[in-house]
Amino acid sequence: MADFCWMGVGSVATRMLADYGAEVIKIENRTRLDTPRKLPIYKGDVRSYGDEDANPDPDKGGLFNNYCRNKLGVTIDMSKPEGRELAIELIRHSSVVTENFAPGVMERWGLTYDRLRELVPDVVFARMSGYGHSGPHHQFRSYGPIIQAVSGLTFISGLPEREPSGFGLSYMDNQAAYYNSAALLMAILHRETTGEGCEVDVSAVEAGVTLLGADLLDVTVNGRATRRPGYPRGNRLEYPAAAPHGVYPTRHEDRWLAVAVFDDDAWQRFGAAIGAPAWTADARFASLDARVAHQDELDAEVAAWSRDEDAHEAMHLLQAAGVAAAAVQNSQDLAETDPQIAARGTFFELDHPVIGPALFEGSPMHLSGSDADLWRSAPLLGEDNDYVFGTILGLDEQRRTELAAAGVI
């Protein structure tokens, strides 16, 4: 794969193919570093996302390591004619080309689908963008929170009668990446079946809209607007009705417990598990309808109980009784104490020449016959220039030295 992807969405999308065996050659530009190389997520140095070094060490960034494991890394300056010629040679040796630049960048380099097909007749050309490659907004800036806002995901998330709480992350960077991984795999499977390549256009905004759930159909089928009192619903659940259904305080500051009780059987188990205090037998809470009608009082009682508990102990107490519950875990919990993550090997460690040993977010799908091969941390800037330009493209050492001296690679 000749992989022009950068930033979050593209890098995560092609990472999945790299994990499962594709030879992904990440093409970078020394004069315009990939943003995750610059973001200050460093060992032993706590800084906010926006607090970058003026001249960062491109090989030190933790986010880049997380996004680009298992890929080969080369550098090409696409602003130079010789750089573009080199990229074309690399594409000739590839079967998939990927990119997530602002629309127009690949065209400026002459790398249209028609041109790529001349180079590789059955090429898969995957284009990943915020808004897609057509339409009046296709040039709009599209960070994750913007995609979430524009697609409706932010609006449907929050407490009623106040501003949306949305997502505290670029959720759509990950989800759009997964949609792009899937689209790539679909195009490859189609080619394996028919011999025919294709161009792929994935819009993150459109992916976001497909993730809104049934509230969207409530609008299109029933004409029921979501700009209405009581919407969105915070942690309460309307469909299906459930109570208690919420996130409750525990005895540690800002540590929380999520509880979801969907029916009367689960309610009985919940009451028994917490020692059957008198309020659990109150007529106001005796049926699902009654609990929904008295949710404020019910939530106050559950919170009064949970406030003395440890979040994880309460989780296991309730789960042992067959009640859906979980501590609101943070990343330390996931990495250090979650026995399920440990047993499944979700996070794994690899050494990196500059960063040293580091944990990685692995794959949540376990394939019994062809599982992920997690073989190396992210490439240093231009680390694989010799292998890719020498061994794959056949350029001799003198030529590579010339290209390096000219700033082409």
């Binding site: 929050g158 997502f167 942690n235 409750y248 979980a326 993550i341």
Partner: protein, 405 residues
């Protein structure tokens, strides 16, 4: 217009799913053209009892918008627990390329499904298991839900308000299940590609818990590297330290997300020019604000002026004018706003899908978020309960009637 790819229209998927993660996975394959048979109990899949309902018709098995959302393009076959129907289920599994299940190990056992035995009996079968925690491990039998999945997997810890007396708030739309579905979709595609080489199926064991745990964006890297925990902040990135608010209310009562990176001189200049054109830049035009450190010291003042600036215009105007200047701004659109979004309209994103209400009605559904020049995915009518039971029984009988060579 492109049509379905033979890579998918030749596939049969037998779906034994009873949560949105499994159902949405089946839908993604069905919209691509696969023959996805949703096997339902006589009372219908659990999602048929979940609202909202068309015209408020609660209790009508063919009226759930929840079911329609996650079950477009499928066939519905009703089978009960009788030995005869279990036999039919076994025949359907034998005829399938993919068996899609959502049961935990004990639930599968109760349904009489032994995934290992099935794989042994059908070496080309791909078994796609999508469960709350995965088929193995100490929590494999733990109960879950979307809220519980987001909590356990850590994503919920990043979501909520600046005010931490308010608990973390669950994002809408069943996102824990949607993450599981995304990985299930990729997993089955990987297995299908691999099967073309080896001729063998395999088990794809997808855990919603892990899907959520690896999708928190910065949260894990912040722990893996500087050992910092992120703190939730209203509708913007959870970070180790508080940042300035990025939600602004506009004059029409709608909200926009606008992240002004104070350290970016280009974004600063564009913002001040924009504010100045509306006569609302006040002292931000002064030379001293060209200095980043001054802006940083005065950020509360900058924030106050931005709040006034956005209150003086409507969200749609702010979106277009800001984006025209290359600024990262987006309106927090409600689902109903999407139908009027000029960009989605120009791309003809929403598609009209016939409804299974028996009265020729149709409604707009989200279209395919991926567009291929060679083939297409598109949402088809969701099935009525048991609509295809007889048809599928006839198909099985016809296959049996053909003497094997």
């Amino acid at each position: 217009m492109a049509t379905h790819s033979p890579a998918f229209s030749s596939l049969r998927v037998l779906e034994l799913a009873d949560d949105p993660g499994g159902e949405f996975t089946g839908k993604l394959l069905a919209d691509l053209g696969a023959d996805v048979i949703n096997v339902e109990p006589p009372a219908g899949a659990a999602s048929r009892a979940v609202g909202p309902f068309v015209d408020g018709r609660a209790g009508d098995q063919d009226a759930s918008l929840e079911f329609w959302t996650y079950n477009t393009s499928k066939r519905s076959v009703v089978l009960d627990d009788s030995p005869a129907d279990r036999g039919l289920r076994a025949e359907l599994i034998a005829s399938a390329d993919v068996l899609l299940t959502t049961g935990t190990p004990s639930q599968l056992a109760a349904q009489g499904l032994d995934l290992d035995a099935l794989r042994e009996a059908h070496p080309t079968l791909i078994v796609l298991s999508v469960t709350p925690f995965g088929l193995t491990g100490p929590w494999a039998e733990y109960r879950s839900s979307d809220l519980v999945g987001l909590a356990a997997g850590g994503l919920l810890n990043s979501c909520g308000y600046d005010d931490h007396s308010i608990p973390p708030i669950r994002p809408g739309g069943n996102q824990a299940y949607m993450l599981a579905a995304s990985f299930a979709h990729c997993g089955v595609l990987l297995a299908l590609i691999e099967r073309r080489r080896s001729g063998r199926g395999q088990l794809v064991d997808v855990s919603m818990h892990e899907a959520v745990a690896v999708s928190g964006e910065l949260a894990n890297p912040y722990w893996f590297y500087p050992k910092a925990l992120v703190q939730r902040q209203t509708a913007r990135h959870a970070q180790p330290v508080p940042t300035q608010p990025a939600s602004f209310r506009c004059g029409d009562g709608r909200w926009v997300y606008f992240a002004l990176i104070l350290s970016d001189p280009k974004a600063w200049a564009a913002t001040v020019t924009w504010m100045d054109e509306l006569g609302l830049a006040a002292d931000l035009v002064e030379e001293k604000f060209a200095d980043f450190e001054h802006r940083q010291r005065e950020f509360a003042h900058v924030q106050d002026l931005l709040e006034v600036f956005f209150l003086m215009q409507d969200a749609g105007t702010a979106y277009r004018d800001g984006q025209r200047r290359g600024l990262p701004i987006g309106p927090m659109q409600a689902p109903e706003d999407l139908l009027d979004d000029e960009h989605l309209k120009a791309r003809e994103f929403f598609v009209s899908v016939p409804l299974p209400t028996g009265d020729e009605r149709s409604a707009l559904f989200p279209g395919s978020p991926y567009r291929f020049t060679a083939f297409s995915a598109t949402a088809g009518r969701p099935p009525r309960l048991g609509e295809h039971t007889d048809e599928v029984r006839r198909e099985l009988a016809a296959v049996k009637a053909v003497p094997s060579a």
